[in-house]
Assembly symmetry: D2
Homo-oligomer: 130 residues x 4
Amino acid sequence: MDPSSPADTIPKTLIDVSELSVALATFAAERDWDQYHSPKNLSMALVGEVGELSEIFQWLTEEESRSAGTNPNTATAVHEELADVTLYLVRLASVLGIDLDEACRQKLQKNAAKYPIAKAHGSNKKYNKL
Amino acid sequence: MDPSSPADTIPKTLIDVSELSVALATFAAERDWDQYHSPKNLSMALVGEVGELSEIFQWLTEEESRSAGTNPNTATAVHEELADVTLYLVRLASVLGIDLDEACRQKLQKNAAKYPIAKAHGSNKKYNKL
Amino acid sequence: MDPSSPADTIPKTLIDVSELSVALATFAAERDWDQYHSPKNLSMALVGEVGELSEIFQWLTEEESRSAGTNPNTATAVHEELADVTLYLVRLASVLGIDLDEACRQKLQKNAAKYPIAKAHGSNKKYNKL
Amino acid sequence: MDPSSPADTIPKTLIDVSELSVALATFAAERDWDQYHSPKNLSMALVGEVGELSEIFQWLTEEESRSAGTNPNTATAVHEELADVTLYLVRLASVLGIDLDEACRQKLQKNAAKYPIAKAHGSNKKYNKL
């Protein structure tokens, strides 16, 4: 294998959500909420939280948004909404039986092939899905 | 401290995104994409990916959605979209300087206080934000 | 022209948002809000409102969702969130200079060609974008 | 009634979606799609389309977004996605039995009371939901 290939440079564990996944499963089981936690419903809850995150940034300039994590007007909301998005994302992957670490590894490799450094440099064209 | 308090039962590390965070920062730096990765822009990219996730489930019943992670018609899309959401979420937290593990810990404790087991049991009323 | 073609059966005006468009422009001008109403920002505000709409339905069954417009627990929220989505959508089209009536007409014709009645009957496969 | 009150200046019809609503009901009935068009499902489809709209603007500056409706790189996508959002919104209101014109009228009046011109002038604080 080429030692400089992207696959070679990706570490063994990219993301470890195992403890959070267990904590959320316990939280749901204790409240008898598994019945509501279908992937369809959880994806909608994820949408709701991403919408709340969007509301924080909607009237800020890009520049203002860069300090939103520490600005006292927005820091608490940013922390809370990012946490909410994370909780629903991890819970959704869990009920779907998806290994997020493996899914991210494959996507990183795919993106590395899709956006070669030389061609993608400093261009936002690569993202263009239109 | 009460040994049965939620804080006590939450493990030391809920989620570890450090390696993925570094991999994404390297990926962006190599392509000179930091200029596009404002929190405002990344939150919009997160919305786009959550929208694609939503499209997978929109016409499925809740029951059908439960097997979407293994159903050959949807499994690949589910893996890819969950990965895309994860990548943008971790990148967004990174540029904002947010510690996702700490944010999730605080939110879990808040939720445990907000939805006591006895009151929340088997009811979806607790979620009602209306 | 074939009298049974879809184009022939589409009425002259599908949607008329002219008065609302003017009312929203006046509302913004009176408050000096045009500076905030870039299409980028308005699309994010639209996301926020669609997220709030999603939250109403997320834990309801499909069956329960069918009466959400009249159920006293949800009717007010449904009215308000649908209105908010409409206001931002019409304002967004307005600042972009898009004729929504014409855009809808073209999309209806495109959809009629894409989903012929005989093939699409009773199947949700046609929607499948995966 | 005070002739300068907001209620007085709102025209009789703000938005008329009646023809589009009928066209969409016919379109669905001809394909036997009513079974899929629960408000829950339609709200998810709306999310998917708003996500696609968001993807158009995500890497554009605010300034660039202002000409996205006429820029040849984005104009077609903007027209199509705005139409898609409109179609699902009107269909959703229709199956819920909501009068969008009346809902918008009430919301405009509420907003006029919430954001008095003198206080809201040139400030994006009024939007702050945090």
